[in-house]
């Protein structure tokens, strides 16, 4: 019961972060602030969702797999954001160069 409540609470909070990040992606004016909104909000949001799911995991192996997924998405997301930012820095705004 406590585990279920915690799961629902954590995932709802995580979804809130996702919604905020998406709103930032849609509303912010330039690439850098969009990246700022997206990466931070999504990393925390995914972390909360994963934490919530851990309370439903069947054993230690599942918990570790969830942790691994979080770490991989963190690494991949950070790298992708860095590359988008770097390309914008050297080549200018993506849309203006097309």
């Amino acid at each position: 019961m406590i585990a279920n409540t915690l799961t629902v609470l954590l995932i709802l909070t995580g979804l809130g972060f996702f919604a905020a990040g998406t709103a930032g992606l849609l509303r912010f004016p330039d690439v850098y602030s969009r990246l700022h909104a997206l990466t931070k909000a999504d990393n925390v949001g995914l972390g909360l969702v994963i934490l919530g799911l851990m309370f439903q995991a069947g054993g230690l192996a599942d918990v570790l797999k969830l942790l691994l997924i979080w770490a991989l998405v963190l690494a991949a997301g950070t790298t992708a954001a860095h590359m988008v930012a770097q390309r914008t820095w050297t080549h200018g705004d993506f849309e203006s160069d097309r």
Binding site: L72, A75, A76, T78, T79, H82, M83, Q86, R87, R98
Partner: protein, 332 residues
């Protein structure tokens, strides 16, 4: 609870149709490719909802991931080709509408206004009503599930999907592998590849991340391949994961990758189909039927074929991404 799931399914369906429509209607090719990748991910979710995690894995890895990467690199090549054409002709002569560059040019122009929608509408109505009629007359049965369940002990593996793919319907899987190989032969027959027009990002971030990610991808690929014998997974999904790792490596250091030795590369590319065919012909000669396994040998043979197929699929996907024969490979 069920109501929530229905709402989720309806939202997913609406998203699928909406994304597909935006993808087809978009005149910007880059946007269309991004929407295509989004469509693939949503479709993977739909497969999960249909309780088909194997297809969901394959759709996410191959449909969205690898195909998306192939489309993006094609787009980049097209852009380089078009830019080359334009700089060849500094005086702005309008391109000959029947000339070789016209098709490429047309890719960037908005499509002409349709004169009438009547043919398209009629076609959609006819196909739609045919589909609905077919679905209406579907018998409400469990499909082939009971038949597969009844013969699971004869398959040599524990996972019904793998049993169907590698044993009961091995013919289909064999032809799928052959099609992937033929696609690569088609790409190679077009000639030697140009350098990938990607600009590797400067700085230590990308190589550092790859140093972390590629070993993890290799372990995950082998795990997915191994898992295929008793849970969702298998050669195509594992091959896609390994191929994605290879594509990342190629993308991040396009100049520093040594060309693979040609003979070894060809052996690896053909290993899946070759081994499958050899096993199938042996089965035929030994009296178990084409692509049948000798009794007691089904499990080791399936594992062997899956390993070879994974290797071939991964290599083929990377080779398709590079497109064309490797530089310095002049053999026919």
């Amino acid at each position: 609870m069920n109501l929530l799931l229905v709402v989720f399914d309806l939202a997913l369906l609406a998203g699928l149709i909406g994304v597909a429509w935006r993808c087809l209607a978009s005149t910007d090719l880059f946007r269309a490719v991004v929407l295509f990748i989004t469509f693939g991910l949503l479709l993977a979710l739909a497969w999960v909802r249909l309780e088909a995690p194997d297809i969901a894995l394959a759709e996410a890895a191959i449909g969205a991931g690898i195909t998306g990467a192939l489309l993006l690199v094609t787009l980049e090549r097209l852009r380089v080709i078009i830019a080359g054409r334009r700089s060849d002709r500094p005086d702005t002569v309008p391109p000959d509408p029947s000339g070789p560059g016209a098709a490429l040019q047309a890719l960037h122009d908005p499509p002409p206004e349709p004169r009438t929608r009547l043919p398209a509408l009629t076609f959609a109505l006819v196909v739609g009503s045919l589909l609905v009629t077919t679905l209406w007359h579907q018998p409400d049965a469990a499909g082939l599930e009971p038949v597969v369940d009844a013969h699971m002990d004869a398959s040599g593996v524990d996972h019904p999907i793998t049993a169907v793919l590698l044993n009961f319907r091995a013919y289909d899987t064999f032809l799928e592998l052959a099609i992937v190989l033929v696609a690569l032969l088609g790409a190679w027959s077009l000639g030697r590849h140009d350098r990938i027009p990607a600009r590797p990002a400067p700085g230590p971030i990308l190589p550092g991340t790859l140093r972390l990610l590629v070993p993890v991808a290799v372990v995950t690929g082998v795990y997915v391949l191994w898992a295929g014998s008793h849970q969702p997974g298998g050669a195509f999904q594992a091959g896609a994961i390994l191929g994605a790792a290879g594509i990342l490596l190629v993308l991040s250091r396009p100049r520093r990758m040594p060309p693979p030795p040609g003979t070894l590369l060809r052996l690896g590319l053909g290993a899946g189909v070759g081994l499958f065919l050899a096993s199938g012909v042996y089965g035929l000669l030994a009296g178990h039927g084409f692509l049948g396994y000798p009794p007691g040998w089904d499990y080791p043979l399936i594992i062997l074929i899956e390993v070879a197929a994974t290797l071939s699929i991964a290599l083929t996907l990377v080779a398709l991404f590079i497109a064309g024969r490797p530089e310095g490979d002049d053999r026919p």
